[in-house]
Amino acid sequence: MTVIQEFEKHPLAKYLRAERFPHIWCEGCGDGIILHCFVKALDDLAVDIDKFVVVSGIGCIGRAAGYVKCDSFHTTHGRPIALATGIKLANPKLTVAVLSGDGDLFAIGGNHFIHAARRNVDLTVICSNNFNYGMTGGQSGPTTPLDSYTTTTPYGNIEHPFNLVHLAAAAGSVYVARWTVLHVRRLAESIKKALRKKGFKFIEVISPCPEIYGRRNKLGKAIDIMKLYRQISEIRHGYDPAKAEITREKIVVGEFIDIEKPTYGELLQKQFIKIQQKLSEG
């Protein structure tokens, strides 16, 4: 029996393109766990795969779009949300999820993110945050913590990082959560909750990058980073995202925001009807 035939017996293999496995991510990379939790959520919700679209940008986790067995786009750098907005508005029957990294969503695509959140476009955005640009060799990015070492900050980073959950909440997301890849069950539940909800949902997942960020900052192997997460993460639902900064001593995780708001698609439909009525009245 070949490895692929063996993999086809995996209960989640029906949602994955088996011929592309094993995936390219490094040993202990969190992206594999995020993909697993995502696919598990699809399986638990029994999502109709023909009405589901995954969009991803450039970055390590951008490969995820190529691994899931639904319609998927691996789009240009920073534009997954722009493309996903277009897909959702063109065909509101589709469920659209964006899987991308911190550099793609918040540096190159920062404006798309805040404006999609402001408009409340019906998207589920899952951000794999590994604190640097892993794929291109470990440059510092918008989430790199102060004083940490990357290829472009060999003497320590002097830029203040984004607090992604605060940014998403302030921009108007209806659902904001943060988990580490260690919290697999809670992450999968969170993704399920987000997929069921309407509006702009944002889930930040803290993911280890043992080969690049971890090596430069002497965090040890992937297993050591996971143990660190177990030690310093603290679950606090409903916590003020403004105070949920990530430090070396503490990572606050949990569901921070869960509110209801009319989505952009709904308002657009209402607007259409209103204008058509006006025109017909002459």
Binding site: V3, E6, F7, K9, H10, P11, L12, A13, L16, F21, P22, H23, W25, C26, E27, G28, C29, G30, D31, G32, I33, H36, C37, K40, V181, L182, V184, R185, A188, K221, A222, I223, M226, K227
Partner: protein, 92 residues
């Protein structure tokens, strides 16, 4: 066995599901998440080397697994999967 393991008392947990534990050995990249985070410490490195040159995990004994499925979800490489044993299913 890590230091934290030695400090935590061994709690006998009841079986959640009767499952067959499987590993796709050539998918394993040797991160050892499954071995470290197994709640009942049921896994260990095997002596075999796979195609990637790492030791994939194996069950310590046939009945060690309680079927919680944590290793399956935590495996970044989709290498572990559980199969429900036909006929028996969940007891209790």
């Amino acid at each position: 066995m890590s230091a934290s393991r030695l400090l935590t008392p061994v709690v006998k947990r009841k079986k959640l599901a009767d499952v067959e534990w499987n590993v796709i050995e050539d998918f394993c990249k040797g991160c050892s998440f499954c071995i470290e985070f197994c709640p009942v410490d049921a896994l260990e490195e095997s002596d075999r080397l796979n195609a990637k040159g790492v030791h994939p995990p194996k069950l310590k004994s046939e009945d060690a697994c309680i079927g919680c499925g944590l290793c399956e979800t935590l495996c970044p490489d989709f290498a572990i999967y559980l199969e429900k044993k036909e006929g028996k299913g969940d007891k209790e």
